[in-house]
């Protein structure tokens, strides 16, 4: 009983900021600015969320975030499956070079190549495009290594049996290996979706127009800087709730894969 109480207290502590944000998103501006702070929900849900939706152009931004998150996740998984397959199931000249090249990307996160990446993207004419938002983030050493590790545990006899059946390498990949990779793919998808959804510096760099922004950047624009305006905290919190809901929902509904992905992808 005591253990349960302790756990529940811990969970309540962790959940409090989210609860507070939700409460603020349901209050009128008068209630938000009242002292002492009111910690119970109010009835202004509809108007606040509608205001956030219109003011922050959230419909469009949520679509952009979804495209970016799904695009990066699917792209990374696809190209990692292919390259890991080549590395494990073929001998070819330059294999070591390719392997090390993929490995080194671990040491080149976005912040260490800010200005020059921007140049590359603008040379390609990819500023303000979905290409620019997704393709450059698709190389992933972790995903490639994860699939490589998994393929190495697949018994050799499987590939031999496939060959006896007259299956070529692509047939083998498609009909034998992929069906076995289901849980790995699901686990990676959850982790990569969250990564793509929450990425901040990249979309900030490669988008100029409001229409191409993602939702996590959009919220910042709702916070007024400097004195002039009174910040509408209830509207800002409504927008924050809508921005955090999709990735958190993915964790809750795909819990099993999420935990697997967390642990596997950091090995």
């Amino acid at each position: 009983m005591l253990v349960h109480a302790g756990l529940i207290a811990v969970i309540a502590l962790i959940a409090f900021p989210l609860y507070y944000a939700f409460v603020i998103s349901t209050q009128s501006l008068g209630e938000v600015t009242s002292v002492p702070p009111r910690l119970t929900p109010s009835w202004h849900v509809g108007e606040n969320y509608a205001a956030a939706w219109v003011k922050g152009k959230l419909g469009r931004l949520l679509v952009n975030s979804l495209v970016m998150a799904v695009g990066i996740a699917v792209g990374k998984i696809a190209i990692s499956i292919l390259s890991a397959f080549a590395i494990v199931y073929f001998n070819f000249r330059g294999k070591q070079v390719v392997f090390w090249m993929i490995f080194v990307t671990l040491m080149l996160p976005v912040p260490v190549r800010i200005m020059s990446t921007y140049e590359v993207i603008s040379t390609l004419g990819w500023i303000d495009s979905y290409w620019g938002l997704t393709v450059p983030l698709m190389a992933s050493a972790t995903a490639t290594f994860l699939f490589r590790q998994f393929y190495q545990t697949v018994p050799d006899s499987l590939a031999e049996a496939a060959q006896l059946d007259g299956a070529g390498p692509l047939r083998f990949l498609w009909s034998f290996l992929l069906p076995l990779s289901g849980t790995n793919i699901a686990a990676l998808f959850v982790i990569l979706f969250i990564y793509g959804w929450n990425e901040y510096l990249w979309p900030l760099m490669v988008t100029n127009s409001e229409e191409m922004r993602t939702v996590v950047i959009g919220i910042e624009k709702l916070v007024p800087r400097g004195g002039g305006e009174i910040p509408e905290w209830n509207v800002i919190m409504a927008a924050a709730m809508m921005a955090l809901l999709p990735p958190v929902a993915v964790i809750l509904f795909m819990q099993r894969w999420f935990v697997k992905g967390l642990i596997e992808s950091e090995k």
Binding site: I14, P36, M107, I114, S116, I251, F258
Partner: protein, 293 residues
């Protein structure tokens, strides 16, 4: 190592092509671009680049503002890492009980991982709000001191650290839990038979056994706080008040993108690259160790 079973002259190249192209165009090329750009400086009118040798580096290392941002980065990173690991180890020990419904509890601890650092920051920005926030209100009841992040740099830093720790908690707890559950109960029982009380058992038995995971999480949280918290600073304090929360990544972005000082910004990127390489090597030394165990 696997026996290689397929033979084909060109197929393997075709298979690695997409990844190699993305890596070359968007990772290697820009990284070399940064190295090159760091040797140039922008002309006074901002219209061309002048070769400057290592000037950018020497000027950075002699600049108080840059050193300040390096100090900020370290304070932030150590705050997030030590604060976060201490809190999550404590919570993981608490959560590591053989009780029913553990899966539900675990999910209830894990979900903040899904929240973007920037969004977490905005939530904490309101909790710390000098006029309406809950925290300054509670603290004002305890004692009278200036708890206004707009005026006090340390409050702003504390706010960012708190938001980052909160966001990382679930993640750290998940790893500590996995580690705690892999400790055989027989080991703990043996310690108990030897008469060790729970506190001693923790420090003498559990904590040493957890050290590989602690080290792994240490590196991971350092990487997180150095390289994945740009959004937090940008959305919440924008480096302020003054330059109190300007961390290295934020300064590199600001100097390059906002102030158009391409050379200085590139030199900062190169210094950051050295930091990542150091952290990655640390991580892999640990990985190797684990293999030999």
């Amino acid at each position: 190592m696997k026996r290689t079973v397929f033979r084909n002259r060109w197929l393997p190249y075709l298979l690695v092509l997409p990844q190699v192209v993305v890596t070359l165009v968007f990772f290697f090329w820009p990284a070399f671009g940064s190295l090159r750009l760091a040797l140039y400086r922008t002309s006074p009118f901002g219209d061309r680049l002048i070769f400057a040798g290592l000037d950018n580096y020497t000027r950075l290392l002699g600049s108080g503002e840059y050193l300040q941002s390096a100090v900020n980065s370290f304070v932030f990173a150590f705050g997030v890492t030590f604060g976060g690991l201490t809190a999550s180890l404590g919570l993981a020990v608490l959560a590591n009980q053989k009780i029913r419904g553990l899966a539900i509890y675990r999910t209830a601890l894990l979900w903040p991982y899904g929240i973007a650092p920037a969004v977490a920051g905005i939530i904490w920005l309101f909790i710390f709000h000098p006029a309406y926030g809950v925290l300054p209100y509670v603290l004002a009841a305890v004692g009278s001191f200036q708890f206004n992040w707009l005026l006090e740099g340390w409050v702003a830093m504390l706010m960012l650290i708190t938001a980052a720790v909160w966001k990382q908690l679930g993640y750290n707890i998940a790893f500590f839990l996995a580690g705690l559950q892999s400790i055989p109960t027989s080991v703990l029982e043996a310690a108990q038979v030897d008469g060790a009380d729970p506190v001693r058992r923790f420090w003498r038995v559990v904590f040493p056994l957890l050290s590989p995971i602690t080290f792994f999480l240490f590196v991971l949280n350092m990487v997180f706080s150095f390289f994945e918290t740009f959004g937090l600073v940008h959305a919440v304090t924008q480096g302020g008040p003054g330059h109190a929360t300007e961390i290295l990544v934020y300064k590199a972005y600001n100097d390059g993108f906002v102030n158009q000082q391409l050379g200085t910004s590139a030199a900062q990127s190169v210094i950051l690259m050295v930091v990542v390489i150091g952290l990655t090597m640390l991580q892999f030394r640990y990985a190797e160790k684990r293999v030999t165990y």
